[in-house]
């Protein structure tokens, strides 16, 4: 594993190979990646493009925190995440998550866990640009209560 920074929020297009190379190790037999790409239609409504905004320094810190959770649950797994922000077009990759492990089951599970946690606690926001307007995604009107002052520890879609 290189000593390159493993958790990055960037305005640049993401190279999947670069993210994979951060987790390749001689003791690993399995690497999973997840690419979150910009989808044209959501519930039948056409997206023209997306705009991502981040609290960059905290987002990178939260990605590293998620890695610590992963290391506790799956000590053999190593992860790297790059999240892109700014304007993204249809089929562009917004996020790439790579996980390496000696065995494949761990690589799948840890990857899925990281994506769930990203959607829960990493301060990044997505604005949909539709044909007839824009809207920030999520419950932006604050009707969801977070009594703990932070997102819940864990939930599933």
């Amino acid at each position: 594993m290189t000593e390159k920074k493993r958790f990055i929020v960037t305005e640049e297009p993401i190279s999947v190979d670069d993210v994979i190379h951060k987790v390749i190790r001689r003791e690993c037999g399995a690497i999973t990646t997840f690419l979150g790409t910009v989808r044209e239609f959501t519930h039948g409504r056409r997206t023209l493009h997306l705009e991502y905004q981040a609290y960059k320094s905290m987002a990178e810190k939260m990605l590293a925190d998620i890695d610590k959770e992963v290391s506790e649950k799956w000590p053999e797994a190593i992860s790297a995440v790059t999240h892109r922000i700014g304007r993204l077009e249809i089929t562009d990759a917004a996020v790439v998550v790579a996980v390496s492990s000696p065995h494949r089951q761990t690589a799948y599970e840890a990857n899925q866990y990281i994506m769930e946690r990203i959607k829960q606690i990493v301060p990044i926001w997505k604005k949909e640009h539709w044909e007839d307007g824009t809207s920030w995604v999520g419950d932006q009107l604050g009707t969801t209560s977070y009594p703990e002052g932070k997102p819940p520890e864990r939930s599933f879609e």
Binding site: I118, Q120, Q140, P151
Partner: protein, 77 residues
């Protein structure tokens, strides 16, 4: 002075990325209420916050030099 960061909907509503507020020893909840009134924001009562890049709750007391980020529900990934 406390630095306040706005993101997403709140950045659109205020037209600002950040402001400095001349207060100290104030709780997060009290500062939220102050901001709602000052900037005519939609309710912040359920908006999460981070103090110095860590999620914090409403009873946290803000000190001189702290950075408070108002964090609408996240939608990354």
């Amino acid at each position: 002075m406390i630095k306040v960061l706005f993101f997403a909907r709140l950045q659109d509503e205020t037209g600002k990325e950040s402001i400095e507020v001349d207060k100290t020893n104030i709780t997060v909840d009290d500062l939220k209420q102050h901001l709602e009134e000052e900037y005519n924001l939609s309710s912040l009562s359920h908006t999460m916050v981070a103090v110095n890049e860590n999620y914090a709750d409403g009873s946290t007391t803000l000190k001189e030099g702290d950075t408070l980020a108002l964090i609408p529900p996240v939608s990354g990934g």
